[in-house]
């Protein structure tokens, strides 16, 4: 069960460069395409991106999910770090706030912490008891600007 003493815990900070091929791969997965030439040119062609008003190839709205678990044992390691049991976990909510575009070539620093932990239901009613964990992730670019704030809510069945 998620360990309430982890409330406030900050995960190790790291930086990662946004790679254009990673963006294309991510978009190919979302567009269900077999290769990256078939995707929307905005996400593979720097000229198309510039024509659309970006400095470089932009990242789609949920792309940051691909680099918030880059270290620390990935998503599974992060779940273990809060003491939760993967087999009982549900991802119940995801929320993004966007402050500035993130494009290929940007260097993004990830700061993630546990911002909320609470119980739902009563412990005696095993099938209705839930432990909720909320992670907040700030993504900051090479100019020190907060570009995205993500909030991820997991519920763990009792």
């Amino acid at each position: 069960m998620a360990d309430p003493s982890k409330l406030g815990m900050e995960f190790p900070v790291y930086s990662i460069r946004v790679e254009k091929n990673k963006i294309a791969e991510f978009v190919a997965a979302l567009e269900q395409k077999d290769d990256t030439e078939q995707i929307n040119p905005l996400y593979r062609d720097v000229d198309a991106a510039k024509k659309a008003g970006y400095e470089n190839i932009p990242t789609p709205p949920t792309f940051s999910t691909s680099h918030v678990f880059w270290t620390g044992g990935g998503l599974l390691g992060t779940i273990r770090a809060v003491g939760a049991d993967l087999s009982k976990l549900l991802h119940t909510k995801e929320e993004y706030e966007y402050f500035a575009p993130v494009c290929a070539g940007d260097v993004i620093t990830r700061k993630m912490k546990v911002v909320d932990m609470y119980e739902r239901g009563k412990k005696e009613q095993t099938n209705r008891y839930m432990q909720v964990t909320v992670l907040e992730t700030d993504l900051i670019n090479q100019r020190g600007e907060l570009v995205i704030r993500a909030r991820t809510t997991f519920m763990e069945r009792g």
């Binding site: 990673k22 791969e25 991510f26 190919a28 997965a29 979302l30 567009e31 269900q32 659309a52 008003g53 970006y54 932009p58 789609p60 709205p61 949920t62 999910t65 691909s66 680099h67 678990f69 880059w70 990935g74 998503l75 599974l76 993967l86 087999s87 009982k88 549900l90 991802h91 119940t92 909510k93 995801e94 929320e95 993004y96 706030e97 966007y98 575009p101």
Partner: protein, 149 residues
């Protein structure tokens, strides 16, 4: 692209977006692209061990598809918020029983403008979103806020 605040009315509908029937291969491709290697999404033995019939799609894959729906309609430089609640699991199509399973794996994202307002010097719309499979079962609901010219 090119949506303008003054031309959007409350009640306007976002063009619906429908994905191809989701296969296990799509889930594996998304796992690789996103780094979500929760075995629940690709390993049937794990899925069965936790009491599911089969693997299920990553919630973030469905949210990503919803994001496709949004950015097919508005330029994503305009996005200010994007938020979803996950409501139901999505099982992929069984290739040995395509006809009977494709509907559960075909997701349509729809949306409607519910508010127009000004905030921090920006003209914003709030649009509510729902993703459903072809059987009508809801996968997620949420909203986005966009600042339009």
């Amino acid at each position: 692209m090119g949506l303008v605040f003054d031309e959007i009315q409350i009640g306007d509908v976002m063009p619906p977006y429908t994905c191809a029937p989701i296969t296990r291969t799509h889930l594996v491709r998304y796992a690789g692209a996103s780094g979500d290697f929760n075995p629940l999404h690709h390993d049937e033995t794990f899925a069965r061990a936790v009491g599911l019939e089969t693997v299920i799609a990553q919630g973030m894959f469905i949210m990503g598809i919803a994001g496709q729906a949004v950015t097919s309609w508005i330029d994503h430089q305009c996005l200010r918020k994007f938020s979803v609640h996950f409501l139901g699991m999505t099982q992929p199509v069984n290739l040995d029983d395509y006809g009977n399973t494709k509907d559960r794996a075909t997701i349509t994202v729809s949306g409607k403008v519910v508010n127009k307002y000004e905030e921090n010097g920006e003209k914003k719309i709030r649009c509510e979103l729902t993703a459903r499979d072809a059987q009508g079962s809801r996968k997620l609901k949420g909203f986005f806020v966009a600042a339009l010219p």
